[in-house]
Amino acid sequence: MADDKDVLRDVWFGRIPTCFTLNQDEVTEREAEPYYLLLPRVSYLTLVTDKVKKHFLKVMKAEDVEEMWFEYEGTPLKWHYPIGVLFDLHASNTVLPWSITVHFKSFPDSDLLHCPSNSVIEAHFMSSIKEADALKHKSQVVNDMQKKDHKQLWMGLQNDKFDQFWAMNRKLMEYPTEEGGFRYIPFRIYQTMSDRPFIQKQFRPVSPEGNVHTLGSLLKEMYPAAIPSDGEQKRYQVMIHGIEPLLETPLQWLSEHLSHPDNFLHICIIPTPTD
């Protein structure tokens, strides 16, 4: 299964070239140069943008600085979504690098959560893992872990340590062979068109008849519009980690290999660009 391991690595080390530019309205002493960065897909915006903040603070007066937040083409970017999800959802078919505007004023309290420190991110991350494990193993695995094991998961993500993270995360991905998969697959389906932030329901990896559920069967259940009917032009793209897996891909495998570090399978459904 060398391919599976490679998939895991590729997923972990996925990067998005990003150009940060300071918002034009910000008061600066001099002109702010744009800042370029390769953002890890599996991480969170506020966790990896310390350098960006530092860069722009150089040109700013200290009294003008409030909490930093990001915006792409008018859309405030939710830091509590993984970066890859944000990109796929909002900018998957645009010209690279991804250009993000940086703000230090007028925090959109209605749209975004405040993020005063990394401990908030950690709490969010850990709660996601626990939720996912509640779906997968009725929380048995995560509850059996010790505090330091939880810490190891978080530190692995924070410091971008693949081996450290997966040494612990492997346990979360185990399941009893006789059942053929997790109890429920932890997934979230995002779409730009709806007001609902995402779709999340209980969905078993194996049908009551004993057939293996695939990505297609999930979409059929959750978002039938995403599956093109015969002869019809494809209207939606189903994106996971910037790629479009085949609909026949088994859902259990996807959950094991293409889940984000928070153990959820984040699926973005975006309209096919019309040229």
């Binding site: 391919d3 990067r15 370029y36 998957s92 690098p97 980690h241 790629i243 085949l246 026949e248």
Partner: protein, 614 residues
């Protein structure tokens, strides 16, 4: 920066993808497809994604970041350099000038400070040099002292070495001394043995001599009786013929001998023995004269050895014939010679004076000197030719009467000699000393032949046949056997014994003690048979006051502290007479002439008094 438009969709436009996509659509229906198609598709898509999104940008972004950093750095430097002139140019020149002035002032101050500091440095340098010089000096001195120290240490070593050598020598000497001492002890033991042997031999010789003498005397007696009988038969006598033999038989043999030996001084004896019938005596004397001429069997020496004179009757002195200041200082000792015509006095003035007694007066005949200290005791030898004296100068001296220079000086005592006597054998002398020893001297060898250790100060001693009697300060009178040199008897006394005197028959011993009592002991019966003589007013004046027995043994004479001479009667035990007023101080010694006529007393204040009964 060039925008690279890479689009996932453009990748999808690949023909292969298209075919895959169509396949995918068909997948649920198609059964012959590989299960792994979807996975391979995912892997490929991931690779494409990374290629377009990651790899293409990573170098670009890195370089941009570096460039950005460099730019910001350069800008920072630039801004620094640029900001300055702009600020100065904007500020007024006057403030600049002011600043300049201030700077000049501070420069001046600083220059002054520099000068000041330099001056201080110079001073410090001087001090430093001085200290350095002193340091060098101290080092020199130190090296000097160190050398001295080393020298001293070497000296110490040398001295220690010498000491060690001396110690070694000392040890060897000590060893030798120990050897010598052991030899000495051996010699002493041998000497003791020899002496015993000698004494034994002497005793044998004496026994032989005694038996010979006895035989001789018996023969002589027999002869005499025979002659007497013949004389009785041939001559007509007034007395009955048996009287002479009876008197002979009743009188002891010793008396016979005594009369025999006293024969040369017969006239004097005769005069004093006034109580006996002169006729009988004259006849006896004639007989003796004859016998002596005819029977001189004994050696002359033997006769001279025992010239025991006897006084038949002493006369109690009644008045002073002469009073004279005999010496220049106190007189300690006085003694008549055996011939009774010579008196010797010895005093603190270190001389012995000889006085002739003639016609009831003392005539100075000579002075014997040689002692370096005062004289304590005087004795004439029985022949009357030599005089022995004990001295404070720890020696005893012997003179011949015709020579004022001492013939012998016997030294060896460690303290003053208190008594010196001729022993029964005339060539020996016995001395007693304050050093608590009694020494026996051989006059032929002029050496000490015997030392007797006593526990107490010896104040006086007398000699009898084979024995020495000594008086001590521990209130004891000790009797020594000269043959074995050991104390054979101790007689108690009531006080410190100051003097001893032996009667002429050697039977009675007089001791004078500090308890103002004269004590007479019968030597034949050592028992408690002793007589004490006291008198009211009699007081023993010193530790060496000398009392005497009269030559006939009937009286005792002693001088008191008040200057009175006391005479006791032995037979009654009472005081016979007191002779007061002639002495003005304590009487130190008294001597009774052998003839019984005279008594001489001497005192501490140079005075000598001649007493007689006439």
């Amino acid at each position: 920066m060039a925008a690279v438009t890479v689009n996932s969709r453009s990748v999808m436009t690949d023909s292969a993808v298209v075919s895959e996509r169509s396949g995918r659509v068909l997948a649920p229906r198609g059964s012959g497809r590989s299960v792994e198609t979807w996975k391979r598709d995912i892997v490929r898509q991931l690779k494409n994604r990374d290629l377009s999104q990651h790899v293409m940008f990573q170098d670009l972004i890195r370089f941009y970041t570096q460039l950005l950093e460099k730019t910001s750095l350069a800008k920072g430097i630039l801004s620094c350099s640029v900001r300055h002139p702009s600020s100065t140019s904007s500020s007024s020149i006057s403030s600049m000038l002011h600043q300049n002035n201030q700077l000049k002032k501070t420069t001046g101050e600083l220059a002054y400070q520099v000068v000041e500091l330099q001056r201080q440095i110079k001073i410090k340098e001087c001090v430093l040099e001085e200290q350095h010089a002193r340091l060098v000096e101290e080092e020199c001195r130190f090296t000097g002292v160190f050398d001295g120290c080393q020298e001293l240490q070497e000296q110490v070593k040398q001295v220690q070495e010498e000491n060690r050598a001396l110690k070694r020598e000392y040890d060897t000497l000590l060893e030798r001394q120990r050897g010598a001492e052991t030899r000495l002890r051996e010699e002493k033991v041998r000497e003791g043995h020899l002496l015993e042997d000698m004494i034994h031999l002497k005793q044998q010789a004496a026994a032989r001599m005694n038996s010979r003498n006895e035989r001789k005397s018996r023969a002589r007696e027999a002869n005499l009786q025979k002659q007497l009988q013949t004389a009785a038969r041939s001559k007509v006598t007034i007395d009955s013929p048996s009287s002479a033999p009876t008197s002979r038989s009743t009188s002891p043999k010793k008396e016979n001998q005594d009369q025999d030996s006293t024969e040369p001084r017969h006239t004097r004896l005769f005069r004093s023995a006034s109580a006996t019938s002169p006729r009988i005596l004259s006849s006896i004397k004639e007989l003796f004269d004859r016998k002596r001429r005819g029977l001189s069997v004994c050696s002359l020496e033997e006769d001279l050895m025992c010239p025991v004179r006897i006084c038949l009757s002493a006369r109690v002195p009644a008045r002073a014939l002469q009073v004279l200041d005999a010496h220049e200082q106190g007189i300690n000792a006085v003694r008549f010679s055996s011939s009774s015509d010579l008196v010797a006095t010895g005093g603190t003035d270190r001389v012995i004076k000889l006085w002739e007694v003639r016609a009831g007066s003392l005539t100075h005949r000579g002075t014997l000197d040689g002692s370096t200290e005062g004289i304590t005791c005087i004795e004439f030898d029985p022949t009357g030719l030599r005089i022995l004296a004990a001295s404070y100068d720890k020696s005893a001296l012997l003179w011949r009467l015709d020579d004022s220079v001492p013939k012998l000086t016997l030294t060896g005592h460690s303290r003053k000699v208190t008594a010196a006597r001729f022993s029964s054998s005339l060539h020996q002398v016995v001395t007693g000393s304050a050093d608590r020893t009694i020494r026996l001297w051989d006059l032929h060898r002029a050496a000490c032949v015997q030392v007797v250790e006593v526990v107490s100060y010896c104040s006086d001693l007398v000699c009898s046949e084979n024995c020495i009697i000594s008086g001590h300060y521990d209130c004891k009178i000790r009797v020594w056997d000269t043959r074995v040199v050991s104390c054979v008897q101790e007689l108690p006394a009531q006080g410190k014994v100051t003097s001893l005197d032996l009667s002429s028959d050697h039977r009675q011993l007089l001791s004078c003690c500090r308890d103002d009592c004269l004590q007479l002991v019968d030597l034949r019966r050592w028992s408690n048979d002793r007589m004490c003589f006291r008198a009211e007013g009699f007081k023993c004046g010193s530790d060496s006051t000398k009392a005497v027995i009269s030559p006939d043994g009937c009286f005792l004479a002693a001088g008191s502290a008040d200057g009175t001479v006391y005479i006791w009667n032995v037979s009654t035990g009472n005081l016979e007479t007191r002779l007061p007023d002639k002495h003005s101080s304590s009487i130190s010694a008294v001597s009774w002439s052998l003839s019984g006529e005279y008594v001489v007393s001497v005192d501490k204040s140079r005075r000598a008094v001649l007493w007689s009964d006439i």
